[in-house]
Symmetry: C2
Subunit: 345 residues, 2 copies
């Protein structure tokens, strides 16, 4: 059996074409997703393996994507821990962790028990997905989870969460360390259930400058990546808006770094070095352009990525709900055609 | 008369100490500001010269700041143009510009007539401010104004505004060009009224990658900066979250570049070169730290800025409403003491 192109690219091996998948590919831009969401709330969909698997598969049926990603939320492993977590669908935490005592009290059962539905979703998906379409498991990075847990909800600048870092650095470090442990349990369980790559979304890494990132966010990410080495799976880390953090990221033990649209991939590669694959980074706004302009924008990303192996094509951020699915078809087709290296598998 | 330290730093001349002012220094973290706001809505305060001048002066009375900044909003010059602009206090545009016809119809009277209240505020302030405290006039950059005008309100990603760039590039360019003209009129009038430096806030520049920034946002900024050369005033441009755009910014005709907290000033200086002063860039969250940690964070900014002239100390973003004013006093005092070069004026 030929190695799936996605896994080849993660390992910086050449493949028949550059693989492509899309952040939030299982989501609201798809009418079939919206139809399901009319019948079920977000939390029910996330916690019901049949529904979560169905949603994961929807984009795979529509487009020749090169990877699937588990349908879940970055806050999923914090559900059911007494924090008053709700999905609106953005996460809201009714009892935010704003005291040392509350942070000390945070506890969680083993993943098999606590998020059994996620693991069941993964096991079910492995039987449904084509062999050429690996399944990506994922989790939120500790700092990103921390932001929601301390702020209590999504926010432009997460002022309370950032203020807490500075006002109570020891309590903040305790919480970030606990979130690293929880995430290790969670991702290792996903690996055992059958995930074929593990991605860590640090959606709010870009709220920190390099000094504070090194001090507060990085140690927890490093701990997770080191612990996951034992799984043997590709480790993908996405430090969103992290252009100024990349020198730090370059020293982490990982296989792939996701890059948002702000940083051209050639510059990311120059900082990360040849030992790391890159994933990204078309601006999701380009999907609103006429086809010729969209294709020109795709070309620029491919050019910045360079001709060598080790590029997973993706957007530089999650796809927007208002996107026309026909544009996604165009995108996937264009990347495949332009990067085809003959000798198809 | 000694040259004010703020103007010396803008011109990269050495001065008695590093000047410091604070983005949004006239704002909600001050109890005296909140007291006035209880009596008047934001728009009334902005449009009433006595109130706008009073608010501008509040932080100057409290702290030995080295510059004052006009109290106004980046959307001020768009008020009264039939767009249904409201301040909540964030700007909301009830009739967003989403068609070419609406963009073509956008027109404005001469600044003296249209924003006479701003010019009167500036004239009044010049008589009230100490000679050592220059007054900064300001405007929003065309792309940032464009974001609100097309999106209709503040937004995390300004998806509609960005989609419009790609879907209707010619109409978007027309709007950006008109906003450049409007901004030239507005800032030239501020200069004639007595502003002593001119700052352009590009709050949403960081929504664009370098290619799109060069294509859509940069030409309008360049036009304004070129036109303002005739004023002879220092031109300050703040491309918020613009770490990956700085190579482009380095080629603009200007005296000072504002840097947000994500990019260490040493790296900004390396890209911008010795011919430009930098302004910034303490993370506003550091003002929530205990004094010793706050002072350590200030030291890091001073160290990154380097010993040479051409640094205006500031935050890397507007001060947060929850900030304790005593921390601002500490900040100003610490910067002054640590950078004092003897021979006080």
């Amino acid at each position: 059996m030929t190695e799936p192109v996605f896994l080849a690219a993660c390992a910086r091996r050449s493949a028949a074409h550059t693989p492509v998948w899309i952040m939030r590919q299982a989501g609201r831009y798809l009418p079939e997703y919206r139809a399901l969401r009319e019948q079920h709330d977000f939390r029910t969909m996330m916690r019901t393996p049949e529904l979560a698997a169905e949603v994961t598969l929807q984009p795979i049926r529509r487009f020749p994507l090169d990877a699937a990603i588990l349908f879940a939320d970055i806050m999923t492993p914090l559900d059911g821990l007494g924090l008053g977590l709700r999905f609106t669908p953005g996460p809201v935490v009714d009892r935010p962790l704003t005291t040392r005592a509350a942070i000390e009290a945070l506890a969680w059962p083993p993943a098999e028990e606590h998020v059994g539905y996620v693991l069941e979703t993964i096991r079910g998906l492995r039987g449904e997905l084509p062999a050429q379409v690996p399944l990506i498991g994922f989790a939120g990075a500790p700092f990103t989870l921390y932001c929601y847990l301390v702020e209590g909800k999504g926010s432009k600048g997460f002022v309370r969460a950032k203020a807490f870092l500075h006002a109570e650095p020891a309590a903040a470090a305790l919480l970030l360390g606990k979130l690293a442990e929880l995430t290790i349990d969670y991702l290792a369980a996903q690996a055992r259930a059958g995930a074929q790559a593990l991605m860590i979304f640090d959606s709010w890494a870009g709220l920190l400058g390099p000094d504070d990132y090194r001090r507060f966010a990085l140690p927890a990410v490093r701990r997770i990546l080191e612990a996951l080495a034992a799984t043997g799976l590709p480790r993908i880390y996405f430090p969103n808006q992290g252009a100024t953090l990349l020198e730090e990221v370059a020293r982490l033990p990982l296989e792939v770094v996701g890059i948002d649209w702000r940083l051209p991939l050639s510059r990311a590669r120059a900082v990360l070095g040849p030992g790391v694959a890159v994933q990204g980074n078309l601006d999701p706004a380009a999907l609103f352009a006429p086809d010729a302009a969209l294709e020109a924008a795709i070309e620029r990303v491919l050019e910045e990525a360079g001709p060598g192996p080790g590029h997973v094509f993706n957007l530089g951020h999650g796809i927007e709900a208002a996107t026309d699915p026909a544009k996604v078809a165009r995108l996937v087709d264009h990347v495949h055609r332009r990067t085809a290296r003959g000798g198809t598998p």
